[in-house]
Amino acid sequence: MSKGFNWAMRICLWIVLLFMYIPIIAIIGMSFNKTSYGMFPYVFTTQWYRVLATTSNLPAACWLSIKFSALVAVAALIIGTMTSFGLQYFSPKMAKRFNFVMQLPIIIPWLVTSISILLLFTFMGSGRSYPVMFLGNLIVVLPYVVMLVNNRFVEMDRTPEAAARLLGAGPMRVFCDVTLPGIMPGILAGGMMALIVCFNNFVLQYYLSPVAVDTLPVTVFTRIKSGYQADLNALSAIIILIAVIIVVIMTRLGYSGGSLFGMSSGSGKQKGD
């Protein structure tokens, strides 16, 4: 390929990367700026972090969102892992059909899902409440867990489980000693995905959260409509930092994003090519 083409491609790559990361970098910068709306002159201050730590309503909402997402993720992991485990005993034809049904909640717009749930529960007389919000979020994240764990089941060698069986381990022991370590990357990936999707899920929480209970996405939405303050930038910067730390730790532990989600990472070039 020509040199000029190569250079053009390289420049394109950098433009895309810049486009992806400039907003993230900008918000970190702005969290240390004195004015709220990202205007110049840039005056360094840590006052927004102080606001965040004292008067802001964001930490409470954030903490609620974390607790809620964790609860949803744990429930999704337990149900999802059991579902994928059971799915392995289906005939290939049935498994395919089941997968199709299972994946629908990802494809159906969340807007539709949330309105249907709201309608159903209003009809049943309960309306917006914690259990309804919990169920709604669970429905949406469950397919991710099932898909990611199922992916591990399909990829991994199942004969060690038979071997453990013949060495005297009962079905429960086999699951804990052999199956679980094998599907662990899928469970980690599924758990992460469930946590993030739920933490983010404005649509479902906006429609289903109990009255006067605001999760972080809902709070942020209200704040942007009325009374934007840069403590939001400070919170964003902290969340970004935590996300970076998690990715670094996962990579150190040998779980790169690609290996977890069953996709390849790195370049297609092999050593020695």
């Binding site: 060698d157 060690p160 071997a163 013949l166 060495l167 005297g168 022991r173 000693d177 052999v178 370590p181």
Partner: protein, 350 residues
Amino acid sequence: MAELIVKDLDKSFDQHQVLKGISFSVKSGDFLSLLGPSGCGKTTILRIICGLETADAGEVLVDGKDVTKVRPEKRDIGLVFQNYALFPSMNVAKNVGYGLKMHKVPKEEIDRRVSEALELVKLGGYENRRVKQLSGGEQQRVALARALVTKPRILLLDEPLSALDRKVRAEMQYEIRNIQRQVGITTVFVTHDQEEALTMSDQIILLNQGHIEQQGDPYTIYSQPATEFASDFLGKANLLTGTLTEADGKWFVAGEKFRIPVNHCGGKEGDTVKAAVRGEYFEFCAQGDEGANPFHLEKKIFTGLSWKLIGALGEQPVDISALGMLADGLDEGADLFVRIRADNVVYYNN
């Protein structure tokens, strides 16, 4: 040490019947091979014996006790898998000691028996290695140690050598047999490699499409194949079509320009039969010698150990294998004479 009896096993997958009334027994301490082409049901038999698969009908008896309904973890039968099936999350010692841990053996005894088992498979000192660091041959040894350390009553080997390269395979054949004799464990070995079965076994069962073609010791199976399939599967015998004839109380299979002696085992004079003769049982002789048949040598192929001589006995194609000292001097296109002893010929009346 235990005696294994398998009775009338039937098994179907969907509409396809893979086992049709399989029955056999293995004497305590014997080494039995189930030999057959892929899809003949040999692995299914193994999986039924250890309980990973359920038979539609029939039973499995260990030392006279019916274990057909016993769950696999209670059967006390060891299995070595083709792909080793080691636990990737555990090191070598944990892998080998897993069965002992399941049987609630005290920790010190586990450590001791694991070292012993690793010594037995010549992997002493490998306790703390990670499974992924081992070569294929080493992994298979670990799998063997893991299966033997709990002292199961019966050892099953499911094509344990087919993933190894030729040299390691030969070494492991010898070693598995050696260890099996040392431990004295009743063993069932599944393979599609006839050479492997012949080298290692006390008894061989030849399977084809879900039924037993022949059972016997390696020499009998090889030299007296009971069916056409057996003669073809074990080292490809020559099949010669001819007429059964009797002369002076001796029996022959005769065809166009050839006549070979046979031991009479059924059939009457004039029947059309197929005689199976292995290539290495032909002997070169001179014209006019007793039993001499004309052989036209068409092509010579060097295979290392011997020459493969492709030609025709009378009108029918025949492959003869001959050692270098006999065949080095022969030219392609030569007309020669060969003979064969009746003991080395079998015929099938059909």
